[in-house]
Each structure stands twice: as C-alpha cells, then as structure tokens.
Assembly symmetry: C2
Homo-oligomer: 380 residues x 2
C-alpha cells in the first residue's frame, strides 16, 4: 500500500486529535512523544519516545516518516534546518516556524508585510520601555520573545518602576523582550487558515475567543455580530501571513478586534485551541486539514455545519474524577460532544474540551459552559 507516513513531533492533545483524524485518511501517523503517557501516546499505535530538542532523536524519528510536522513550536529551528539539509520534508519549514517561535521576528516580519499589528518595539533596557511608553502611554505590555504561552511570558506593566524590575529580571535570565501598546480591544478573535505547499489556501469562519487570565475559556464560531469588514480583514491578514511566511499546514492568528479594525496578537503554526470547534462544527476539522496541507493534498471545505458552534475548555480544578461527570452531562444534553485528553488533572491545565452546536447562540453557550463547569467540578 502506498499511503504516506506523517510524523508529528510532540505528544500533546493536538497530536492526539490529529491521530484521530489520520485514521479516516488511512495514512500512517507517528508521534514523537516524551513519555508513553503523553496524551497522543495513549492512543496511537506508532509512538517514538524522544526529546524534541535532541537532534539525533529527531533524525531517527524523521527516518520513519515521509513528512514531519509539529504539535508545538519548541523544536529548535537549527535542528529543523539540519534535518531539511539532510532531505527531510519539514512542514511548516523552519523559516516559517521561527516566526511562531520568536515574537520579535514575527513583529518585524508582519510590520514589513504591512499586516496591522499593535505598535511595538524591541526593548533591552528600562529606558527603552519608558521611551516607548512616552509614545503609547502606560501601561505597556512586555513579552518574552520566546517560550511564552497561555498568558505566560506576558506582563502588563503599569509604570517605569515595574518596567525596571521586570527588565532586570529578564536580563538576568537572558530573556529578550519586546514592548507592545496595550490595545483597547472590544474582544479577541482568531482566524484559522490552512495553506498547502502548492499554495492553496482556505480560511475558516473567524471566531471569538473568550480568555480568562490569559487562558482560552471559550470559542464561539462564528464570532457573533462581527462587522463583515473586520471578519474579511482578519481572514485576509491570516492568508497573507500564511503566504508571506510560506506556511504549510494550519496557521492560527489571534487578533484584537477594535473599533478601528483588527490587529494581530499572536501566531501558531499548527492546529490550535481556537480551532477545536471544527471537529464537529466544520465540514473539515483543523486536524484533517493540517494533515491534508502537510501532505500537499487538496484542502477541505472549512464551512460551518451549524449556525453556531461553541467550544469550552475543560480546565482542571480540584475534581480528579472527570469521568464521574459524564452521566450528568450526557443525560442533560444528548447533543454534547466531549473530548478528553487523557491528562492528569492539575489546576488550570487544559484537560479536555466540550463542543455544542445549534441555532440559538445563548442556548448553545449555556450548554457548553455548563458541561465544562460540571466536568471540572466547579458546579455539582
């Protein structure tokens, strides 16, 4: 049989759900996981154990794959360049991926491409931050160029004193920073697109993401009442970024919606939490789409399967027995779709999500919220 082999570096829930999508396509899916208990390693047949920072481990893994792709951004770009020089097909490639790894490079590149972003500046000293704040006003947002996620590596800084403290700490820890204006946004959006090596692109409907303490709580597809011009601008920005950066696979662009238009906040070059709703809510899930894109197959229909789709993350709290909540949730709502990731419960950790579809947004939202809250033990 001539089915290709896709290897995904990283064994988290994104790899787990990509494996699920790979089964229908009939391809072989391999995972490079750190432990046999990783979320994807619990469910996949072909699990390789190894560290994504270890070039030899990557090389041995790649030798068994036709295409290598990623469940996270943490593989050093130098390793990916080495693999590519050895003939490994890496999608997205290191020259694209580096923009999802380094917020400074990302801002430089998007600014050059004319993609609307918050005002920003490279900052090395507290003086740099203060000078930037002179222009945009306090508070300013400081971000570590590398390694941040889910609100980590991002600080809202109210004053030059606080800036001094943070810059000193960052300097001591060799963390490079950028400063950004604190955007007065009306809400946060995400634009999910996919792009294939031969240049085909598709855009999913723009969604609203509801964040609490920097962590995504809820995603509403499509973003309710979004100005069609803002929706089009968000999709165009995402497709433009995908093209300019030569992205292959899924690209998630997080944006701020403001009265003056949309501004790009963050990028991810892989299936993304803001796209989990697509498993049931779009004709082609982001996971299938990512596989099709990295295999250079024609992309799938991204359209909605219902007027409204709401995804709510199940974040760990103090209830360890999530399965104990299934009976209530399934009996209350026979249309509820549960996705658990096989992860140990830890407070605030993303351990699963639920999805609800329907015609009535408020009803759909209430159902998703109730189930997510019940499963985590927030309500009983």
């Amino acid at each position: 049989m001539k089915y290709p082999v896709v290897g995904m570096v990283g064994g988290g829930q994104l790899a787990r759900m990509t494996h699920q999508a790979s089964i229908g396509l009939g391809i072989t899916f391999r995972v490079l996981a750190q432990t046999p208990d990783d979320s994807a390693a619990q469910v996949a047949r072909h699990v390789h154990l190894g560290d994504h920072r270890d070039l030899d481990a990557l090389r041995a893994f790649a030798a068994e794959c036709d295409v290598v792709t990623f469940d996270h951004e943490h593989v050093p770009a130098a390793h990916l360049r080495a693999l590519r020089a050895e003939g490994v097909v890496v999608r997205p490639g290191p020259d694209a991926l580096v923009h999802a790894q380094d917020k400074g490079l990302m801002r430089e590149r998007l600014t050059r491409a004319g993609v609307p972003c918050p005002r920003w500046r490279h900052v090395a000293t507290a003086g740099d931050v203060a000078a930037f704040a002179e222009e945009v006003g306090w508070p300013v947002v400081l971000k570590a160029r590398r390694g941040g996620y889910d609100g980590k590596g991002v600080w809202v800084v109210p004053s030059s004193e606080e800036a001094r403290r943070l810059v000193e700490e960052a300097t001591a820890r060799k963390i490079r920073l950028i400063a950004e204006e604190k955007v007065e946004f009306t809400r946060e959006l995400a634009a999910l697109v996919a792009r294939s090596p031969h240049g085909q692109g598709v855009a999913y409907p723009v969604v609203e993401t509801v964040q609490v303490d920097g962590v995504c709580r809820e995603v509403i597809a499509p973003a309710p009442g979004l100005d069609p011009e803002h929706a089009a601008a968000a999709q165009q920005a995402a497709l433009k970024i995908a093209g300019e950066l030569d992205v292959t696979g899924v690209l998630a662009v997080e944006l701020f919606d403001t009265p003056a238009g949309v501004l790009v906040n963050e990028l991810a070059m892989r299936p993304h939490n803001s796209g989990h709703w697509t498993i049931e809510g779009a004709r082609t899930s982001q996971f299938e789409q990512h596989l099709r894109a990295v295999l250079d197959l024609p992309l799938g229909d991204p359209s909605l399967t219902a007027p409204y789709v709401v995804m709510a993350n199940v974040l760990g709290l103090d209830e360890p027995d999530i399965y104990g909540g299934y009976e209530h949730c399934m009996a209350r709502d026979p249309g509820l779709k549960i996705h658990m990731y096989g992860k140990e419960v830890r407070p605030g950790r993303k351990i699963g999500h639920v999805t609800v579809l329907g015609d009535d947004l408020e009803d759909v939202r209430e159902r998703a919220r109730h189930a997510a809250a019940y499963l985590r033990g927030e309500i009983t």
Copy 2:
C-alpha cells in the same frame, strides 16, 4: 484517573472506527486482533493478539478490560457464557448475541415476539424445502443458520432439483438450513438503534441500503420518500427486538420494504455498515453510541446533521493504489469525507467508504458514487 477500559474482540474496520470514537471519550480502548496488521491494530495503542475462538485468549484479554464487546459475531456463545460466569462484563451478552449468530434462533424468537418477518421454516431435507415451496412458491431462499455474511451463506433456489443438490451439500458439510419466502420488496432498509443496560433506547433515522450481489454498495439517510408508517414500524421493530433480546450496544436491523409493510431480514449486534454515515451525518456516531451503550452512559442524540447523507462503500477492484485517487477526489469535492481501513485491496472487499452530506439528494448521491468509483479505479 478513573476512565473505564473497553475491550473489543475483533480487529476489523468496526473496531478501527470505534477506537477513533473512543479517543474523544478519554476512555481506554483495547482490541483483540488476530494479527498486528488488522485494520484496528494499525491505529490503536492497546492491541492484544489472539484468536477469538480461543477461550484462554479471551480470558487474558478480558482480564484487562472493564467491559468486553465485539466487532463481529464469531465468538462462540459458550465462551461468552464461561467468561460471564467468571465475572466478565460481556455486552451484548451471549443470550442476545446468539440471535445474531444463528438465523434459526433469530427467526424463532422474532416470530414468538410478533415481529414481522418473511415466512420461514426450519428445513432438514429437500422434502422440507419442497413442502415449504408448496406454501410460498418457488423460488425460495435457503440460508445457512450460521456464518453467512455479505450474501454468503444465502442461496436463491428456483426448483426442487436445485434444493436437493443444496441440501445434500449442506448436510455433508453439517450446515443447518432455514428456508424463507423470496420477498418481493421495493427496496431494502436498515433501522439502527442502541440500547443500554439500564434500558435506554435511541433510534436513528431509517436508511435505504442499496445492495449489489448481496453486498452493500450505498446507504442513503434518511430513506428517501419512505412512508412514515413504514419508518415508524421499522424503528419500533428494532427497538422491540433490542428490548426483547436484552441487547446492549448498537443493534442494526436490515429490513425489506414492501407495499404491505416492513419485514425483518437480518440482525447485527454491533456497529454496522448501514450506520457508517453517522460519523459525520448524525450528532452521535454509531461508534460513540456503541461505546456509550456498553458503558451504560446516557445515549447520544441520533439526529441527522444534514437533510441527506449518502455513504458509498469503496470495494476493492484492480487498482491497488487507492491513495493515488485522493488528489482527484478531494480537489473535485472539498466536502467529501474519506474513510479508508488500511486493508489490502482485493476484488469485492470492503476497503473503505466515503460520505457526502447536503440538501440535494441527487447531487449528494452522485458525489458519493463518483468518489467511491474513482478510488477503486472503476473510472479514471
């Protein structure tokens, strides 16, 4: 973590797709396969190798599972009774499953329960067949009580000479037979239901199945233009059978539609080919539903996600490179859903299926047929 372990005996495509559904539920799924290349064994983490006719293999497998269920009907009922006596939770249980294994027992039981069936008779001699034909007319249908599927073990017998030849051959091979009238049906239907141990039942919309040479080619959901009384009768018959036989899990009932009403043809107590459309076409797939049922969780919403859903089987022909057809099929139809089973291509073998959803039945049917024909190499 307190997630349960479901074990499925049999490593075919039904187990493969049940594994896919198990991933979202977060439960642990184990497969008892005959070889590591079995369809489900290619994609699942927990694969046990062993023969389903070997009680020790079953026992060792069951020891690792909270619930044991099946991808086929071929486990000897005596083995299941032995397991149950040892405390293994077997769903469906042997007293139900035996009716999917033995068409003679099935007919006896359904007749006793008042479920409409074709006229039938146990037959041991050519004289028995001729006497039955006196009542119902030639041709009659002879069926092996055990082991038939996809048209195998079923013979349409035009005359007493042919009956004599068949009965002699069956007697020599120790195959017990029943005779049935050859029903003048307008089309074939399937009613899929699920039932849980605590007695909850759900019924999917009744579908039309299109058979060619005894093998299912296409399934249309819902059955177009079906008399609502016939649809209700089919669902009621299936729910009644599930209750009378104490079925747990999915029950598929194949029926003949006739001007006078529906008649039950065959039963299967597991996810079934006539329900593959539910993966995208129903809010709850038959595979998730089967898992929920055998775990005694509340059952899921069986309703349609589109006005029409058509599933077409991809049957092996002479084209071994199925993946080579993906580019054409995906480019022609971005909404097409492909499901391949990882099976070697052999003529007539079910190696995958495709599903298309939409508002316009003729369009949906043409798209599904085209893709299935293209993938198998019937058209190029």
